[in-house]
Amino acid sequence: MTEKMLKFVSIEQGSPEKRDALERKADFDEIYQGYIVEKAEEQASRCSQCGIPFCHIHCPLGNNIPDWLNLTADGRMEDAYELAASTNNMPEICGRICPQDRLCEGNCVIEKDFNSVTIGSVEKYIADTAWENGWIKPITPQTERSETVGIIGAGPAGLAAAEELRKVGFEVHIYDRYDRAGGLLTYGIPGFKLEKDVVERRTNRLADSGIIYHLNFEVGRDATLEELKTKHDAVLIATGVYKSRALKVPGAELNNIHRAIDYLTISNKKSFGDAVPSFDDGTLNAAGKNVVVIGGGDTAMDCVRTAVRQGAKSVKCLYRRDKENMPGSAREVQNAEEEGVEFIWLSGPDAFVGKKDVKKVHAYQMRLGSPDQTGRQAPEPVPESGYDIPCDMAILALGFDPEDLPTLFDTPQLNVSRWGTVKVKHDTMMTNMDGVFAAGDIVRGASLVVWAIRDGRDVAACIEQYIDTNTAANAAAAE
């Protein structure tokens, strides 16, 4: 009976404890504690078990949220995990890094006045509990299949696809240019949001499941796309987008202006204990510096909070629009503010000042103009409002564009859009090259991890169907 549920009218929202800002600034560990059992069950029981669960509808993965909340409230953690895992290849990761306030929790119908169910935290609790109890085992397909699939990119899209394809018995190879699997999960997202062993246990599990990683492998250098294509029955391009957007203003060529991706990757490598010269020589270490991060997305948030942890003298974040209109998660802004980051809203940099090294950022105050068709207001500078911000290190977190894959892969025939994203057929997710598929950010442009997982799952189904059809056709031809 639902009597165990629907407790939102009597139980207040309660998130897991956050560590104190002072304490958490000192390390790169995650800032949220896990739920204790009772708390998780109690919080899960606040779910209203809706007839139309908008949390579920607005989850890119269509996670069966009300169902696993119900199971959690009931203490049936193994069932809850099984269910959570049936739609999501890495629930504990989504639970940590999804912008729930814009997805499930933001659409929770009890949200008005009652504060939403803490879906992300419960999701994390479910999967962490499963890991702790050893319920998560390597995949053992019911039957092994002879066909193989090559996947370029070990990020969330590639990993999700790999797992799904492995489940049905294909031999799966993943190629990645980095030395570790995980893509942005490993090098893009800082440890205080996503501890690295959380990612590693996932990538390790796939290895244990028989998926073969080819790391430090650059397509175009170590093999061409065509070569991979002949080697495998299908190839998936899931490279993500890595080309950082530039800021075309005077002084952009000065030293100590860095791309966010480089900054974060180095920091993460450092956390792994790797030898990182560019950090050790101070280039990418914010310690003792006045740091200015430009941008208002989640990457910018990661940068500012990394800088805080590296011991920056000051950390400022410049964004053209106001707080309400920033693309990043509100929760992250709050965390950053707690940790001492200064946000300068409505502020547009128009020059970097300095001789060799950047010394100042010159910026204008902005205001929001009249809304366009989509209702979004374009920022415009307020005349004569320019001012300077002292800066020893500037980080540009303005978003990512696709790299030039046809060139990079030495495969000019690969069809890409004018923005550089790989074009695929909507229903088959196949590129213009037979047997070559693409999914994730490289198709949709920079987006959320959860969308990458969704695409990875979808493309896996497409690939399976493609191979099945081919196999059937070959069999028919052989007869």
């Binding site: 639902t2 078990q49 809706c50 269509g62 169902d67």
Partner: protein
């Protein structure tokens, strides 16, 4: 086989959705008998007189003159007929002559001659001689047009007992001759031949006229020589108006008022019984009497046929009544053991014929009157000093001088009275049953019955055998989803109850779904509406029985100890352990049939498998195996299961057709079986027992993981079984069936989306209006599902049938579209609304209407010329959602919005705050123009009823037709309690039936009452779509309803069990079309407006509704969505997060609805309607009403279906000249009652406010006395504007039904005599006194003075009655005070307020569901403890002098008002009598009492 079309060619064949088997009849009935058995003229005259006094229980056809039929059954006055014989020149021989009363074709003379020849030939062939034919004189001038056109030639054949046999033999042979004539007539296609009676003892005069014209039409009856010792009379009220002379009653043995709900099952079982039965009783003639029940016979005719054959085979009428319509016996503590043994024996012989029934019957020696087990029809009797027994539906039908009355009584549930004419003796119920039970050694015959606990292995643990992987595979093969297991199964195991849901069903009907739907999804449960009442299986569970007996059904006519050690189970639901035990017990007598088939079987695989199991079953039975086990456990990688419903029905039907079914039990193990609905379908299809073996494996697996806590598997299964048992009883009770043996094999369902061929083969007689999936489709879906389980090995899907899940079942209230609609109405943006509407239109088909498209005109009309939004909106209604379900803000918002646009809102059940009756200062009017009258009658006062334009009688609601409801205490806030006249925090129960509507004539009476209390309001009757609704609607129209609302199955905020939401009722498209067709066919359409609702969301829905016949449209859920509803579907939990369906203060603050939003929705829909009308080339919505030629079917559903044929919905009956829209101006007026005179005589009261006293003589035809008068008082002075007793009206005689209904303060009615049913119904402050006449010599407290269901829904006022009341006294009383001197069963049921003092014995089940008020019972014989229903009340002697004084004062008043001698005696012996009183108080009320029950600190009672 006889078919009514053979008998009466005038009846329309099946046409559109009309099906003649749906027709119902109900009526007034009674008998008169000379106790000494001596014939007299007086008896005949009394019968004629009685018929003149029950005209109001019949109906008049559209032509105003044709009645539904009336008749009288009399002894043959031998001399009267012998005189006629002599006038023809014959001298009659000694002994009785026989008279055949025969209807012959009148206009086709050649055919008439053929008929005569047939009759004569058969008589002569049997060795009797004929005196000749007598043309019965008739006066045809008194009958109506329809009656005249269909009038037969009526003749009497007089037959001599030339063989000189005794009367008994003569009668039996006459019976055989008659049956032979009937057969010969069919063979010769001699249509129009019908034999009313064919007997040497009695003759029946009947026909299609109004009851009062019987003696004018048949002048024979006025002949001084026409004498009789008994008269059984009947007046019919049928739901249809197709003239049927032969359907008039009495039938050959009995006359019946009521309805047999189990007719389909009974008829089926008779097919098996008749074989051995006929052989034993009729030997070489056995072939002649089969089939016992003619094909197409009505329920009453079928009952009569069986009654007759049993009598002819040598049983007495009382014994036959006892066997066919037994008392409920298994849960009755006060019943004598001998009676119980007799019933226990009868139970093993024959399935009861269940349903409301007042019977008057004769076997020639006995004349009896009897009632059904629930006592759902009234039966009052009087015995006179000069030796007459007068029984009838009402008291006062035969006027007897009070001083001549020796006794006045009534029949209680299952009771009987009778006269043995031979012995010249009157028998009361107890006397008859003592005599019957002593007649045979029943106790000996039933002593060695076994129960399940007697079997071996019952002390062992429940077994389980599947591992987890196998379990998952089987679950997948059976089509289960996680939702099934979590939402349905889990609560059953945890709580022993079914889970509740809200907000109706918006998923596709099974036949349109792309998902796998098991067979049960194609079945819709039958439910009662209007023509019979549902039962409350919770509060009245004493009448319910799931007792399942193995191996009964020997020969119905055998007597004696037919079976040794027969096994009787308390329920047909078996656990795996039970089943194993049973198998062991049966041993070699059982045969197990594997119900699976090879997956590589080709296209005929399923068909061949069914043929195989049928043959296997037949062979097993012929080998003498008494128990067949059907199982799908053999499902494996290579074998798929036959749907067990098909397997069961396939074998049941096959065995029935071969007459073998009664030789075996049919025990079904079904993997697919989970919810109560599936169990019900299996049992309805013929299963004796059912075992959900796979579900038990699931429970075992979960139990082993500790998911149910520290509970053993045995307890889990016991709870599950309990939930199913309760659910089964609910399903039975919602169609008014109390006994599972009568439900079994009755196909009490309607198919929705099963192919006609499949239904015809496996479920003969079950309606299937639109055809659909056939065997081929079923096989395809099965194999797909099988492959998911065994080939692709997919895990169970999450399921989305009850709640939306992505990629699962569609829901037409779709998340994003809801948001779109909400922003459309918030921003007043029609463009967004159109996107919403298009979004809906682009979804795959969900509803039947989605398969239609409009035939657009070649030249559309100019949009500007189409009638305005304002005009169209007036046709919109927000359907009844009670304040209680909705929060006050939401409820008012709807009313204000609808009033602003001249449309209508319905109050819903639960009253309305009187401050809303007048417009607010800002001009907003929150008064709902339509006030609902529902079964709970909460807040239904004279004032409430006066403040509206229309009164809606809610017979059923889409979410749970046939069920009652419950407003849990936590939802009863101060406001709710005030409006419902109850106590805050105390649970309120709405009974399943209206206790004043058990039958169609009761509905007519309620409509009459309502039209009296509000002389301006129209009356609407709300029905739920189901097969046969057309004929019900015709009956409702004849009951003077002005509006008929056809609700679809899918509606509602109501909380109800999930299986009720999903599987009861049909889409409104089908019901509406049927109602429109049948009303038109009957010439009744023009006098009623049709309204429909159920998931209407867009202009398209409205126009299709209009085309299918509706004039007005209910928009319910969509209007809630406009106010912010987001389909959380937790309305029953009081946690609505948008503040609509909740009484919680915090949540109510979240309400963001506004009248503007609702108005925007209505305007958008109207605008869309206009656009569609323009496309159709018309200018008014009225132009398309009933124009089904404007629709065509654009989709025939999926490829695997046999056919999906919506043509029956599109049939246009008659031509355009037939009035097929409502032309009614104002309302259908009803005749005046005494009040017209009273109001005239009381002008001084209304003109000058004077006090007055009026005096009249009354009889039972004067109904609702004081009601119209109260309406005038309310209008002039307000409901409480006059002082009590301002106007006193003294009445002498027998007052008609509804005496003082809704009477208000200031009016006092004093009856010297007695009164009928419904005294003080809805009493709103008035005072009613009923006492015997001064001339009466009766001892009042031993006699019945008022009828059934008195004070139903009373809200205030006082009733004193010096005598006993009938059944269901004070039901749903919420404030009236009353003193009576005894009452029948179910007294004070559901009472929530007021005080009842009963100076005498009460019947069974007293105080069931009583949650408020108080009762004092004079428990002299200390029977209360056995009678009371202890669920909600406590009882104890009075311990606080405060309450003693209260009681004493009541009795003092009673003595003063009525002169009660018994009351005076109690008062004068107070010290010794007071301790005999028991004070009955609801448990929930203890803390709310003004004074504690005991003076000391301890307030504990009982």
């Amino acid at each position: 086989m006889t078919n009514i079309h053979d008998i009466n060619p005038g009846l329309p064949a099946e046409l559109g959705l009309y099906n003649q088997t749906d027709e119902h009849a109900s009526c007034g009935v009674g008998l008169i008998a000379a106790i000494n058995g001596i014939s007299s003229r007086e008896v005949v005259l009394a019968g004629i007189q009685a018929l003149k006094a029950i005209w109001h229980r019949g109906a008049v056809d559209a032509d105003g003159k044709t009645g539904d039929g009336a008749g009288i059954h009399l002894e043959i006055p031998q001399e009267f007929f012998k005189t006629h014989v002599r006038t023809t020149g014959h001298e009659p021989i000694d002994g009785k002559l026989a008279v055949g009363m025969v209807f012959l074709p009148r206009t086709d003379l050649a055919l008439q001659e053929t008929c005569r020849t047939i009759v004569e030939t058969e008589v002569l062939n049997f060795g009797y001689t004929i005196y000749g034919w007598r043309q019965v004189p008739v006066d045809a001038s008194v009958i109506g047009e329809k009656g005249e056109t269909s009038r037969p030639e009526i003749e009497q054949l007089m037959i001599a007992n030339s063989k000189g046999v005794d009367d008994e033999t003569f009668e039996r042979e006459l019976y055989v001759i008659r049956r032979r004539i009937e057969k010969a007539a069919i063979e010769a296609q001699a249509t129009g031949l019908y034999i009313c009676s064919f007997s040497c003892r009695s003759v029946i005069y009947k026909g299609l006229f109004l009851a009062e014209q019987l003696s004018i039409f048949f002048p024979d009856l006025l002949d001084e020589n026409f004498i009789s010792s008994f008269a059984i009379y009947h007046q019919r009220y049928s739901t249809n108006t197709f003239p049927q002379w032969w359907l008039a009653q009495p039938f050959r043995m009995l006359a019946h008022n009521g309805e047999i709900n189990t007719i389909r099952g009974n008829t089926n079982w008779m097919k098996s019984h008749q074989i051995r039965m006929a052989a034993v009783a009729f030997g070489e003639n056995s072939g002649d009497i089969k089939p016992v029940i003619p094909n197409g016979a009505s329920d009453s005719a079928a009952l009569d046929a069986v009654f007759e054959v049993m009598v002819r085979a040598g049983r007495t009428a009382p014994m036959v009544k006892t066997m066919l319509v037994p008392e409920s016996w298994s849960n009755k503590p006060v019943m004598p053991e001998a009676h119980r043994d007799m019933y226990s024996y009868c139970n093993s012989v024959m399935e009861p014929w269940d349903g409301p029934a007042a019977l008057a019957a004769t076997d020639g020696n006995w004349v009896i009157a009897g009632l059904d087990r629930n006592g759902l029809r009234p039966m009052r009797y009087s015995v006179t000093h000069d030796g007459l027994l007068v029984v009838g539906s009402e008291t006062g039908m035969v006027q007897i001088p009070e001083e001549n009355v020796r006794e006045k009584g009534r029949l209680g549930p299952g009771q009987m009275v009778g006269v043995n004419l031979k012995e010249g003796k009157f028998f009361k119920d107890r006397d008859i049953k003592d005599r019957l039970s002593a007649g045979q050694p029943f106790s000996e015959w039933v002593q060695d019955l076994l129960t399940i606990d007697d079997l071996k292995g019952m002390e062992e643990l429940e077994p389980s055998k599947l591992d987890k992987a196998a379990l998952q595979t089987h679950l997948q093969a059976a089509g289960f989803t996680l939702e099934d297991l979590e939402l349905l199964l889990k609560p059953m195991v945890e709580t022993g109850k079914e889970t509740l849901g809200s907000m109706g069903d918006d998923t596709p009907i099974a036949v349109l779904s792309e998902k796998y739907r098991n067979m049960a999804h194609f079945f819709r449960q039958n439910f009662s509406q209007v023509t019979n009442p549902p039962i409350d299986s919770l509060r009245e569970n004493r009448v319910m029985s799931l007792k399942t007996r193995f191996g009964n059904f020997a020969n119905v006519l055998d007597e004696g100890h037919t079976q040794k050690s027969a096994l009787v189970l308390d329920s047909p639901i078996l656990t795996n352990r039970d089943f194993e035990g049973l198998l062991t017990h049966f041993g070699d007598l059982s045969h197990t049939i594997d119900c699976t088939f090879d997956v590589d079987c080709g296209s005929e695989g399923l068909r061949n498998a069914i043929t195989r199991i049928q043959r296997e079953a037949e062979d097993a039975v012929r080998e003498g195996r008494g128990h067949i086990i059907l199982t799908d456990e053999g499902t494996s990688e290579s074998r798929a299961p036959i749907p067990m419903i098909l397997a069961t029905a396939g074998i049941h039907t096959y065995l029935v057709n071969r007459g073998l079914r009664t030789f075996t039990s049919l025990n079904v193990r079904a993997a697919e079986c989970l919810d109560t609905h599936y169990f019900a379908v299996l049992i309805g299809a013929g299963a004796t027992t059912v075992n959900a073996w796979l579900i038990q494996e699931v429970v075992a697996e979960r139990c082993s993981r500790g998911l149910f806590g520290d509970v053993s598997l045995e307890t889990c299964m016991a709870r599950y079984k309990e939930a199913i048992n309760q659910g089964l009883m609910k399903i039975l009770s919602k169609m008014g069936i109390a006994v599972i043996s009568s439900y079994r094999g009755g196909y009490n369902f309607e198919a929705l989306g099963l192919s006609r061929a499949l239904v015809g083969e496996f479920f003969p007689g079950m309606p299937s209006k639109i055809s659909g999936i056939g065997l081929a489709g079923v096989q395809q879906k099965l194999l797909e599902q099988h492959s998911l389980a065994f080939t692709t090995k997919k895990p169970l899907s999450i399921g989305g049938f009850y709640r939306f899940r992505r990629g699962e079942e569609l829901h037409s209230f779709d998340g994003p579209l809801i948001h779109l609609l909400q922003s459309a109405v918030t921003e007043d943006n029609y463009g967004k609304y159109l996107s919403y509407s298009n979004g809906l239109a682009n979804m795959p088909p969900i509803n039947i209407r989605d398969l239609f498209d409009f035939k657009r005109a070649e030249t559309p009309s100019d949009l500007d010329s189409v009638e305005s939004i304002t005009q169209i909106r007036k046709r919109f209604i927000t359907p009844g959602m009670s304040l209680g379900a909705l929060g006050p803000e939401a409820h008012e918002t709807l009313a204000i919005a609808m009033n602003r646009i001249g449309a209508k809102s319905v109050s819903g059940e639960g009253g309305e705050d009187q401050k809303r009756f007048k417009p607010y200062e800002n001009g907003d009017n929150a008064n709902s123009p339509i006030k609902q009258v529902a079964s709970g009658r909460f807040g239904v006062t004279a004032e409430y009823l006066s403040n509206c334009e229309e009164l809606e009688i809610k017979i059923a609601q889409g979410a749970k037709p046939g069920e009652g409801g419950q407003l849990p205490g936590f939802k009863v806030t101060k406001l709710i309690a005030k409006l419902r006249l109850s106590t805050p925090g105390v649970t309120l129960i709405s009974p399943p039936p209206h206790h004043d509507i058990y039958s169609i004539e009761d509905l007519a009476q309620l409509i009459y009452d309502l039209k009296q209390i509000n002389p301006r309001a129209k009356v609407c009757v709300k029905l739920v779509s189901s097969a046969g609704i057309g004929t019900i609607a015709a009956g409702v129209a004849k009951a003077h309803a002005d509006v008929i609302l056809v609700a679809g199955h899918n509606g509602g905020t109501a909380a109800s069990p999930q299986t009720s939401i999903k599987y009861a009722g049909t889409p409104w498209e089908i019901g509406l079309a049927e109602v429109n067709q049948v009303l038109t066919l009957n010439g009744l359409r023009h006098r009623v407006k049709l309204r429909t609702d159920g998931g209407m969301k867009t202009g398209r829905d409205i126009v299709i509704g209009a085309i299918l016949g509706a004039e007005e449209f209910g928009i319910g859920t969509a209007s809630l969505v406009a106010m912010g509803c987001i389909m959380v579907r937790q309305c029953h939990s009081n946690t609505c997060p948008v503040g609509i369906c909740t009484q919680d203060d915090d949540l109510r603050k979240k309400f963001e609805g506004s009248p503007e939003k609702v108005i925007n929705l209505m305007s958008f829909i109207a605008e869309e309607v206009r656009e569609i009308l323009a496309e159709l080339g018309v200018t008014n919505l009225e132009d398309v009403i009933g124009r089904t030629d404007l629709l065509h079917q654009v989709s025939r559903g999926a490829d695997h279906l046999d056919d999906l044929d919506l043509n029956p919905l599109l049939v246009q009956v008659g031509d355009r000249n037939v009035k097929n829209i409502c032309t009614l101006e104002g309302r259908n007026e009803v005749p005046d009652t005494l009040d017209a005179q009273m109001i005239k005589d009381a002008s001084a009261v209304f003109d000058r406010g004077e006090k007055m006293q009026l005096t009249y003589s009354v009889q039972n035809t004067q109904r609702a006395i004081g009601t119209r008068f109260s309406a005038e008082i309310t209008r002039k002075f307000g409901m409480a504007g006059l002082k009590p007793e301002h106007v006193t009206v003294r009445l002498r005689g027998s007052a008609g039904q509804s005496l003082g209904a809704f009477a208000v303060q200031g009016l006092k009615l004093v009856v010297a005599g007695d009164s009928n049913d419904y005294v003080g119904k809805g009493l709103s402050g008035g005072t009613i006194v009923v006492r015997p006449s001064n001339r009466s010599e009766l001892t009042p407290h031993h006699n019945t003075i008022i009828g059934n269901t008195c004070l139903y829904g009373a809200t205030s006022g006082t009733l004193y009655a010096s005598g006993q009341a009938g059944e269901r006294f004070g039901v749903r009383n919420s404030g009236a005070t009353t003193i009576i001197e005894g009452c029948g069963d179910n007294g004070c049921e559901y009472m929530t307020g007021g005080t009842a003092v009963i100076l005498g014995e009460v019947g069974d089940n007293f105080g069931a569901g009583m949650t408020g008020g108080m009762a004092f019972i004079f428990d002299e014989k200390e029977t209360l403890a056995d009678r009371i229903n202890p669920e909600t009340v406590l009882w104890d002697p009075i311990k606080n002098p405060y309450w003693e004084n209260v009681l004493k004062q009541f009795i003092t008043d009673h003595v003063k008002e009525t002169g009660s001698r018994f009351g005076a005696m109690i008062l004068s012996n107070w010290e010794s009598k007071m301790p005999l009183f028991k004070q009955v108080v609801p448990k929930e009320m203890i803390v709310h009492l003004v004074e504690p029950l005991q003076v000391n600190e301890d307030t504990e009672a009982a």
